[in-house]
């Protein structure tokens, strides 16, 4: 879902740069106040895992592949603000070193994949936890992951539409493609969380920022 150079109009990418810089700076301010040194390895290892997993494209359907985005996983494991910073590190490295996503689209890509997907994943995760009976954690994690991908895809579609690159049909097309890819996101996120939960439950009980 990394938007390359040329897909977005200057007005759209500049606006997304402003939003992304503001949100990342705000996240850093919260994390700076609350993060303890003990939590540092969790952030670093989550970033490395998500970066590596994002390289593993799996075939989905109709000649299309998908890969883990990781926004919901980062948010559930680390909390929304650390999750945003971890995802921003991943997306920015992908852009600057590996040309995965254009430099002009960096703000938009950070917004979609590092901010919106993390916050959406966290919101669904918390809403599920607030259900009577707390909800089935696997089902809630699956839903959080699916929603995080679909919302990020819709945001990318909206940016493309506002850039005049396609009609409103781009929103429907992005939704259709990522409703499928989101199933993969849900499966990988659920598997990662339940593996971690059975191998190292202590790691899941850490303080989240």
């Amino acid at each position: 879902m990394h938007i390359p150079d040329g897909y977005l109009s200057p007005a759209v990418w500049l606006a997304m740069d402003v939003v992304a810089v503001g949100a990342v700076a705000g996240s850093a301010r919260v994390v700076e106040k609350r993060l303890g040194e003990r939590q540092v390895p969790a952030l670093a290892v989550t970033a490395a895992f998500i970066f590596a997993a994002q390289m593993i494209n799996f075939p989905v359907a109709a000649g299309m592949s998908g890969h883990l985005l990781g926004g919901a996983l980062a948010g559930i494991l680390l909390g929304p603000w650390s999750g945003t910073l971890v995802m921003t590190t991943v997306v920015t490295t992908q852009c600057l070193l590996f040309r995965d996503g254009g430099l002009t689209a960096l703000g938009a890509n950070v917004f979609n994949m590092a901010i919106l997907s993390v916050l959406a994943g966290c919101a669904v995760w918390r809403a599920g936890g607030a259900l009577p009976g707390k909800g089935n954690p696997r089902a809630v994690a699956f839903a959080a992951a699916w929603v995080s991908v679909v919302l990020a895809a819709l945001a990318a579609g909206l940016q493309l539409f506002l850039s005049g690159r396609a009609g409103p049909v781009v929103l429907a097309a992005m939704l259709a493609a990522h409703a499928l890819i989101g199933i993969g996101e849900g499966l990988v996120t659920t598997a990662a969380l339940s593996t971690l939960g059975s191998v190292r439950p202590d790691l899941l009980e850490a303080e989240r920022v």
């Binding site: 390359p4 303890g36 895992f49 593993i56 590190t89």
Partner: protein
């Protein structure tokens, strides 16, 4: 950090497997082809040292791709570790 080592090793293994991933277009690329705006993709505005996760001149080499995958994973680990450490020290909050 020791507690997290198995997951870091798993991440490095995924990095090494990256050359074997599907090369089919992803969701956005597929939508761009179908709706006809794929041609709007411009030349990158800035050069990148390892475009498309490949060593320039060795794009077809899987061992080279595996090395890039491992190195990238280690680099992201290092960047996130350094950044998180700086933020944790600056605030001095959180758990002891």
């Amino acid at each position: 950090m020791r507690r997290w080592r198995p997951i870091l090793i798993l991440a490095l293994a995924l990095g090494a497997l990256s050359p074997f991933a599907s090369s089919l277009p992803d969701g956005l690329e597929r939508v761009a082809e179908r709706l006809g705006f794929a041609a709007r993709q411009a030349e990158p505005v800035a050069p990148a040292p390892l475009p498309d996760y490949a060593l320039p001149g060795h794009e077809e080499s899987r061992p080279a791709g595996a090395l890039v995958g491992i190195a990238g994973t280690l680099l992201v680990f290092g960047l996130a570790y350094t950044g998180a450490r700086l933020l944790a020290r600056k605030g001095g909050g959180g758990l002891p």
